[in-house]
Subunit: 206 residues, 3 copies
């Protein structure tokens, strides 16, 4: 089950990367490149942080083809994508949750301590989007808008707590997805966000 | 001794990260995230460059809690921080020196050659600030303002020279801190900086 | 032969990094740092992705000295460099091709599958330039302008195909360089570029 959600997730993330590249007027190569990095960059950073070699996608060339194709396809269908708005947001939210759960599992398998497992989940969940925004020269959105990165954090906490309590793994997955999806979609619907920190520059730390 | 200075250093760096995030109106999660990366990113990049796995902070969850707490605390006390201006600059300078010395030691332990040891010290010293500025979408300050990165370079050179000469390690540390602190604070006080390279774009490499 | 081309290539890349740093009014340290990262960053990212430790330049301090010297020298001769315009573009193109071929060879030696070998070639070819543009706070040019990253892709494909066909290695190298150089210089001469994807932001994925 998780594998299928994962494939859908990297496709959705690749498409979001392609759209961001389109806003910077990148060429076909740039679109494919940003799509690839948005979809697989989070897992790559996680693997490099944890020393989990070989990096996952290098063992699954299919992921390379899938994300690049999704990116290029987006160039063709971008003009119709606003009609798929809601669907896209749901896929993106499922991707965030799937990435988080998979990231936690990788770190668990390598016997890292709980705080590192949570960081691995969040890194997998949000770093693709951060790299996308860096490469498109804008301040990372996942750190500024409606609950997104914090959904990843809460999903990781719920997932690990249920595992710790010995709950059946399928139930744990189902609970994590239901909770995460409900939270993320509520955040979009009602513009829920964390308190924002606005700091005016003083002279002392300019 | 170096451990206490290190803990103070990552706290000071986390606070500088939080302030930078505040200028980009990031939410609480973004503030904590940038604080964490500013404080621990330099060491992380060093460990990944040198293949020094597991990455240091993954073995010390306490560093995660400390930097995130310092970042969140900064949200509360930011308005009073200008009163602590001088203290903050001193802590930041001590952090730069501590990071540099620690980075050199990691590379020495792994038997890298001297130029790589120096690069490891500088990377530990300045890369957290570079990642902070990248994530906050601004040109890295450590490469543009009063002597900062070059303090890291000179401290690394002094530290390694004294070690090479067989000077007692405590004396070496004391000399490195005194020299680095004096240089950095003089640079701030009298706006000392390296020659700047200003290049006007021509058509040939636009 | 490839080694000499490589040394010329990292020198040319270091100079392009120094010029980009000059446009951001960086100090001497910043210039040397950006020069170093532009020249050696692509190979570093490749080595970290593939788990190819120790990272290449850490075993060749001479590369560190060469790139830093080239960066600092650029500060002195920048005003005369427009006269060397064509030479510089040729060196840069040769560098792109040399980096690509070397990147493919590293991944081949580690027994990665073909798509990963190609990615390793492209990463080595273009990531130095991407890091340069990130650190200088601009959208990566290699993803937007005349054929550049795609030259790297096509050179990788040609090189691997000829190797696969059992063609002599010297002939393969010569063919890859001739083809890549002709393609890149034609792209500059006639402004050849890939189709660009321009996407106007809608409200749904702002």
């Amino acid at each position: 089950m998780l594998l299928y959600v994962y494939l859908i997730a990297i496709t959705a993330e690749a498409m979001s990367g392609a759209l961001a590249a389109g806003r910077r007027n990148m060429d076909m190569f740039g679109v494919a490149f940003i799509a690839f990095i948005t979809a697989l960059g989070g897992g790559t950073v996680r693997d490099m942080l944890l020393g989990n070699y070989p990096v996952t996608w290098t063992q699954h060339p299919m992921y390379i083809y899938l994300t690049i194709s999704a990116g290029l396809l987006t160039m063709l269908i971008a003009r119709f994508m606003h009609r798929l708005h809601s669907l896209f947001l749901i896929l993106d939210a499922m991707g965030l949750i799937a990435f988080t759960v998979i990231g936690c599992n990788v770190a668990l398998r390598l016997d890292y301590e709980t705080p590192v497992v949570i960081m691995a989940g969040i890194t997998t969940g949000i770093f693709g989007g951060i790299l996308r925004d860096l490469l498109c020269n804008r301040t990372p959105m996942v750190l500024r808008k409606e609950l997104y990165a914090s959904v990843s954090l809460l999903v990781a906490l719920l997932y690990l707590s249920l595992l710790e309590l010995g709950v059946n793994h399928d139930v744990t997955l189902l609970a994590s997805f239901s909770f995460g999806l409900a939270l993320r979609l509520s955040a979009i619907r009602w513009s829920l966000s964390l308190p924002v920190f606005s700091y005016e520059p003083g002279r002392w730390n300019d």
